[in-house]
């Protein structure tokens, strides 16, 4: 296939972008829509001290959970870690710092980073210490709001149904979730696609993430874990 924009590459080539201490943002919700091949690549490379930003910490053996359970993260910014007991244990043991953000506000903070907005105002969790602590507030029209700052990352990793050679992306069903937001928020964005098609093969009205936000596209080797619902 022609590769006119040089974006289509191999998992070996993107391996260099994953380094100790980096901030890594990932698409996915409970592991659904997280890029398995890239996660395995990071795991195998032995990268440590990651700051992970994403909806949740997956399950211990699913999605980004694989990095968390293997103690590769020093910090997580997420809305939920309940489905990954290892994350809870590491937090309790002081081995993992966790910053919780309400789910929709977390998504908006990622989107804000992705579209170059420094912060949004929010009244979600206003009176909750865990949400509000250390956050500035702002009085607007007589009501107080939290200032929720934008999130970006050194690298964003995204899971797509199809990508074309320019990096235009469409997603599959509920595997879309945070992926289009994460795709915009990376200083460098790498898409793992189930299928890579020539430029022009995607309907321009149907494209969810324009390729301008995408730096590299790699082919997915498919999910490398058993889903929780497959275990019974």
């Amino acid at each position: 296939m022609d590769n006119p924009h040089g974006k289509v590459t191999t998992i070996e080539k993107v391996r260099e972008f994953f380094v100790d201490g980096m901030t890594l943002m990932f698409g996915g919700f409970g592991g659904v829509g997280s890029p398995p091949t890239i996660i395995d690549c990071i795991l195998k490379k032995g990268v440590r001290d990651l700051t992970l930003i994403g909806n949740d910490t997956g399950f211990p053996h699913i999605g980004i959970g694989k990095l968390v359970s293997n103690e590769r993260a020093k910090k997580v910014i997420a809305s939920h870690i309940g489905s990954n007991p290892v994350a809870g244990r590491l937090m309790t043991e002081g081995k993992l710092e966790v910053e919780f953000s309400p789910q929709g506000i977390l998504a908006e903070r990622i989107r804000a980073g992705g579209v170059g907005i420094p912060a949004i105002l929010s009244d979600i969790g206003m009176d909750n210490e865990l949400v509000a602590k250390n956050k500035p507030s702002f009085l607007l029209n007589g009501k107080n709001y939290l200032v929720e700052t934008a999130l970006t990352a050194n690298v964003s990793i995204v899971f797509a149904k199809k990508a074309d050679t320019y990096g235009n992306v469409i997603y599959d069903k509920s595997a879309r979730n945070t992926n289009p937001l994460v795709a915009m928020a990376g200083d460098l964005t790498i898409v793992e696609a189930e299928e890579i098609v020539p430029a022009g093969n995607l309907d321009p009205d149907e494209i969810v993430t324009p390729g301008v936000f995408v730096d590299y596209v790699v082919r997915s080797e498919g999910v490398s874990w058993k889903w929780a619902w497959e275990l019974n």
């Binding site: 919780f100 789910q103 979600i124 909750n128 865990l130 509920s174 945070t178």
Partner: protein, 221 residues
């Protein structure tokens, strides 16, 4: 020590009656997930999931699961006609914009002022709030379905929550195995009493003042 399936079903069935034609509804896990079993088939209801689904249908047959079509808990579901997928921002935009008509969720405690405490059990690990705060604060109506008492027999409906709040003053209705309550002007009103309980049982098992609504119905189904 949870409720038996019969009492859980009673609660879910009663909650299902609050779902009207055309509503957009978000269901929590546990008893709320039983609610769709009792819905009339001729109602047009759109079930919303935080992970970007509007129009969730029932679980697929075994072997028919699609790993890219799961609910917010990560379990396979289906999509009904006119359903759609969206990103997480849009999904929560629906909630904050007031387009989600009803959320039905479980809770650890609820106060007579409608304060909801359903996300942290002291001494246990903190799981994170997920989407609970947005739903509690912004859904047009919030119904809590839960056991009337905790596993130690202590009231879960109280004057003031002792557990960390998810959101204050957000609950409109509580349904337990004993009856149906509404929160109106920061007071708890008993609206329906379920067999075999009597009003005195309610007084005994509830941790705050209970007002008896003039329209109180005693249901002995």
């Amino acid at each position: 020590m949870g409720l038996g399936i019969e009492l859980r079903n009673r609660i879910a069935k009663r909650a299902s009656e609050e779902i009207k034609n055309g509503m957009v509804v978000n269901l929590g896990i546990g008893i709320p997930s039983l609610v769709p079993n009792f819905l009339s088939a001729n109602l047009n209801v759109m079930f919303h999931a935080e992970n970007g689904i509007l129009g969730m249908g029932p679980s697929p047959e075994k072997g028919e699961e699609d790993e890219n079509l799961c609910n917010a808990g990560g379990f396979p579901i289906t999509l009904i006609s006119a359903g759609s997928y969206c990103d997480s921002c849009t999904s929560f935009g629906m909630i904050r914009r007031g387009r989600v008509d009803l959320t039905i969720l479980g809770s650890l405690q609820v106060s007579e002022k409608g304060d909801l405490a359903n996300w942290i059990v002291p001494g246990k690990k903190i799981p994170g709030m997920g989407g609970a705060m947005e739903l509690a604060q912004k859904a047009k109506k919030v119904i809590v379905v839960m056991n009337h008492c905790d596993k130690n027999g202590e009231p879960k409906i109280v004057s003031d929550c002792t557990l960390p709040l998810t959101s204050s003053g957000c609950v409109h209705m509580i349904i337990t195995e004993m009856g149906v309550f509404e929160i109106k002007e920061s007071r708890l009103w008993l609206m329906e009493l379920f067999h075999p309980f009597e009003i005195n049982d309610i007084f005994a098992k509830t941790g705050c003042e209970v007002q008896i609504d003039s329209t109180l119905r005693k249901l002995y189904d």
